[in-house]
Structure formats: structure tokens, C-alpha cells
Amino acid sequence: MRKRAKDRLPGFLLVLPSIILIAIFVYWLIYRNVATSLDQTVTRATKRVLNPGGLANYSKLLGDGEYQHALFNLLVLTVVFVAGTMFFGLLWAVLLEKGVKGEGFFRSVYLLPMAISFIAAGVVWRWLLSPGVGEQAVGLNQLLAMMGLERFQNGWWQSPTQFSMAAMAIPAIWQLSGYVMALFLAGFRGISEDQREAARIDGASEWQLYRHVLFPQLSPIALSALIIIGHMSMKMFDLIYAIAGQNSYKASVPATLMWTQLFAQNNPTAAAVNATILLVLVAIVVVPYLIYTSKSEKGTH
């Protein structure tokens, strides 16, 4: 018993600094954030009640029409963003996996957008997604006009429909499909050639081979990709801020609203409420995944 403790001590000391740092900079700050979100605040000079305090802070924000609109936008964005990156990531991975010439070249081309910061890309996409149509068309709308597809011109994320936030997913899909492709490609490479050969000998068509032999083995990777993209979407701020600027109603999501609450409305408590709700939303997605992976890892040992 004593010997085992002695063995473990150096290892424990090795990870201790990161445990302390994470305890302070992640968990203690989460605690501070939640504590702040329950504050009652009154402006000092005019005695206006900004936040009633306690859980009423939460019901106040959740009952706010602007916030509900932002949540709905987030839902639309996340669904389209996740579906889009999964579709293109898988498509490109399958194409490259088939062994095209110059695979390295295409891989870099697809991965490159990820190397660009959201802010820099956002400035370009703000122009590409300009809402002007007809004579005012610039960016993508102009491209559509050049191809004779004027009737597909639209206001993108500023279109009058309530699902307009789907257009905001276009730049995000452009940036992160390559990442999902890389994940899937690694997955494909991990499956040994024997299995394909065996399937072919058994008379499986190409479709059946993918459907019943390869794709099932990729499901853990698909799940990881889903979680990673999903939580990135929920936290997305920089791209939207760069494209739509401050105070845009059409493009508001909880994260941009948080910026407004903190810096423009000078209301850290409301921003903390918003942040806590966002944390819970992300946790709902991520925690089951963590439990699932730790269970399956135990299973393999």
C-alpha cells in the first residue's frame, strides 16, 4: 500500500500545477460567473433596479423577446452549420479516400480556410454576403447574376424570413468542413484494407461496402465531429460580429447579445446570466458525450 502511494506521488506532483490552474481559471471562474449571475444590482446614482437578483434574473432574460429571438437564431445556425460541415466533410473525405491524384494538394486546399481567423474571414464574407440585389448586387449576388441565376439572389442573413440565420452558416461551413474532412479521413485510414477485400469477396457492392462496413466504424468519429462543431456553433461570436457589426437584430445570437450586455449596456450581471445559460446548453451536448467516451474507453481496457 505504502509503496503504491510512493509510486503515485511523482505523477501526482507532475499534474498538480495543471490541476491548480484549471481549478482556478476554469472552475473557480465558472463559480464566480454563476455567483455574479444571481446578483441584485441597482444603479448607484439613479437607483434604477437593473437586475432583480436570484433566479428572477434568469426568468427576466429567458422571458425577453430579444433573447428568445437570439436563441432561435442560434438553433437555426447550429442545425445548418452542423449538417453542412458533416455533409461536406464526409463527401470530401470519401472523395479523397478513393485515392485521387494530388491528394495532399486537395487536402491542404480544403483545410486552409481553417487557418484563417474568423474575424479576417468575416470581413470578406460581410462583402460576399451583401444583401443588395439587382443593380446593387455585389459579392455572391453578383456572382449569381454573372451565371444567369438572378432569381436566386437574396438578402442572405438579412432576408426577411425567420430562418435567415442559415446563411450565416455558409462562411462557418466554408471554414470548418475541411476540419471534419480531416477527422473522417483519419478514420478511413484506420480501417484495415483486409475488411474491404473481405467484403468485396463476399460480393458487396461499393455502396454496401460503405453503408455496412466502413460507415459503422466511423460513428465514434462522426459523434466527436458533431460535438466539436456543435459546441463551436453555440459559442460563435467573432464571425457574426465581423459580418453583422454591433446591434444587428437579424444576426443576434446569445453570444453577441452577451457582448452588448457587458460592454454597451454596462450590465455584467445580465451577461453572466446569459453566459451561464450558454454553458448549460453546451454542457447538455458535451457531458453525455464525455460519459459515453469514458464508458467505451473502460470497455476496451
Binding site: A242, A244, Q246, A251, M258, L262
Partner: protein, 439 residues
Amino acid sequence: MRKRTITSAVTAGAVAVALAACGSSTPAPGDNAAEPTTGAAMETTAGGAGGDVGVFTWWAAGSEKKGLDALVKLFKEKYPNDTFVNLAVAGGAGANAKAKLAADLQNNQPPDSFQGHAGAELLDYIDADQIEPVNDVIDALGGDSVFPQKLLDRLTVDGKIYSVPSNIHRANVVWANTAVLKKAGINEVPKDLNAWMADMDKVKATGVATPLSVSGTWTQVQLFENVLIADLGAEGYSGLFDGTTAWDSDEVKQAVADYKKLLTYANTASDGDDWPVATDMVIAGKAAYNVMGDWALAEFTEKGKKEKEDFTYFPTPGTDGVFDFLADSFTLPKGAKNPGGAKDWLMLVGSAEGQKAFNLAKGSIPARTDVPASDFPPYQQSAMEAFKTNEIVSSIAHGAAVSLAWNTDISTAISKFYSTRDDATLVSDLTAAAKKYTS
């Protein structure tokens, strides 16, 4: 977000250490002069109070930087005892700077003086008890004998003035392309909004699809405030902010209807576009008119355009005789390390000499009325004349009329209206916003 807060806290800490190091070496003798509210003469030391004077701005590039440099040069001459420390934060038209400033103030590490839009935007700081009144500085500078009383009225909160204005801009100016107007046969400045829209029809008939150009959200707010001034008049408009004019009154509804009609003449803008996009449309002849503050003048001259020949300007139709002002100003934060030095800085900013040097470089006009106009270019001369004689009202879009928080709510409502074009919702949103901040 969490990461951001940490970094700003860390930088704030670093600044705190630096400031503490400076502050300890030279105690400021001006401390006792920081008695607020009284109009009594202010104690000052010839040559300056001494010590470091940290001044926070977002003037880090372009004409603004030149203006600040001109001020700093004068400051060194006038107050040799003081050392100027430039705490400028670049980027985002002040948005980045305001975020950094908010962190510094939260941590009780204020700069000695910081830049802020004069007027209601300072309410957030006043409300949070973060800045001191500077009536003594204003009085020492000459009070209402050098600053227009109407301006001082707009700056006064509960009988106290919290900042020294450094420069004035006008927000109700229409910039127009002379060639486009000529082609449409328009030779006269329209008298009111209806005449203006009739002119726009003429422009449209000549093949210019978008006679009026708009840009991102805040430029739309500025256009809307121009329409409000035109339909409500100066007094009615100012009443919107103290509760004497209701936001759901018929006049406001009329203004919303006029604004909606104006937008039918305008291009489709992206919420995130900045103002030069719209001004450039006028320069390129793709639009006839753009409503923009007088900083647009620099955009025209930079593109090599000549006044009268290529472009012309006039007060937004219906607002002639009204000066929709916005101003930059400097404050005295509570707990500043060197209040004596800060007052030296404020005295310089408010002096006739300082205002002339700064505004010549920046392209705006002095807040003082005793600076000779003859030294300024033609546009500034006309603006200075208007500032002296016109009714003065405060701009919404630029923080003079409403607090930043209220401004944010108005901006969101305008942004929403831009996509829905629903009059009733805009009026109810504006009314709800006003109720939130005036009750």
C-alpha cells in the same frame, strides 16, 4: 468570453502596477482643488501640477491622431512640469477602447482623464459614480461666455457638468453629388422632407436607382434621428429624452412613416457596413444623397473631389436652423492618481488655443465660440456660424442624447425595422426602450 475577461483583467493589473509606480514618486499638489460642484475659482499651479498625466483616448490613427498630437505638443509647452502619458487604444471606432476602459474603471484603476462622447453617454459613468463634476474647470475657462449656453444645457446633469468638450461635429448634414443633381434638374435645396423626396423621384427618373445611400445600423439610426428632428422640431425632439415628448406620439409615428418612405429610396445595406460605403456611393454617382456627420468631408477631399464642383452639402431638409451636435470630451475620473495634472489637461483641452490646434488637425469645429473662424476651411466656417446661431440638439447615434445602453436598444429596434419595415413594432420598441431608461 471568459478568456477575454481574464486578459483584460490581466492587462488592467499591469496598468495598475505601472500607474502606482508613477503615482508614488510625485504627490499631486492639486488634490485639494478637486472639490466638486462649487463655482469657486480653481487652484492651479503655473507650469502644471507635475507628475504623469495618463490620458485615455481611441484616437490612434488618421486625423484624430494628428489632433491629439497637436494637443500634446501644446500641453508640453504650457505645462512643462507635467509628463503626458498616451493611453490610446486603437480600433473599432472606440468599441475596443470602451471595453478596456470599462475593465480599468471596474478595477478602480482609472486613467487621469478619458475621452467620452459628451452628453448622455457619460450617464453610465455618472450613474456608476466613476467620474467627478468639472464645473470648476468650465468656470475657470470662462463658462457661458465662451461656451454656448445651449451646449452647456445639453451637457448638464442635475446641475453639474461632467466633461470638457474638445470638439463639435454636426450630424444633420446631407452630402450630395452635384453632377447627379444637375442631371435631374435640381437646382434648389429642398425645404422639407416631402420636397426632398420629390427631388429623389426626379433623380430616380434619370436612372439612378438609389437616390439616397445608407450604410450599417448606426448610420440608419443617424438618418432616423434626422427625420425625428425634421418632424418634431428642435424642442419636440429634445423632449424625447426628458419625457416631455412621448415616443408613441403622433409626431413620432409620422417620423417613422417618413423614415420608412425614405428607405424606399435607399440602397440595401448590410448591418455591418461602415459609413464610407454609403458616402462612396455619392462620390461615385451611384446615389445622389447621403446623410452623414461632417467627418464625411474628409472622405470627399481624400478622393480628390472639389466643393461646389463635385459635391455640395446642406442641413437635412426640415432641420435647417437646427444643429444636431455630437462632441468628444474629456473627464475627471473618481480616484484619478493625479487630479491636478488631469485638470491641467482639461484646462488645455478647453482653452481657445488648444481647441484651435486640435480642430484644425481633426477637421471638426471648436466647442468655444471665441476661436476666430477665419483660420478654418470653408465648411468649418459655415458650421461654426451655424453652431453660434442655430438651435442645438443632441445626437442619438453618437451618444449625446441617450446613454450607451439606451442607444443600444434604439439601434437594435432600428436594425429590426430595417428587415421588417413594421411601423407599429418600431414605435412600440422605441417606447419600451424609453420607459426602461427614463423612469
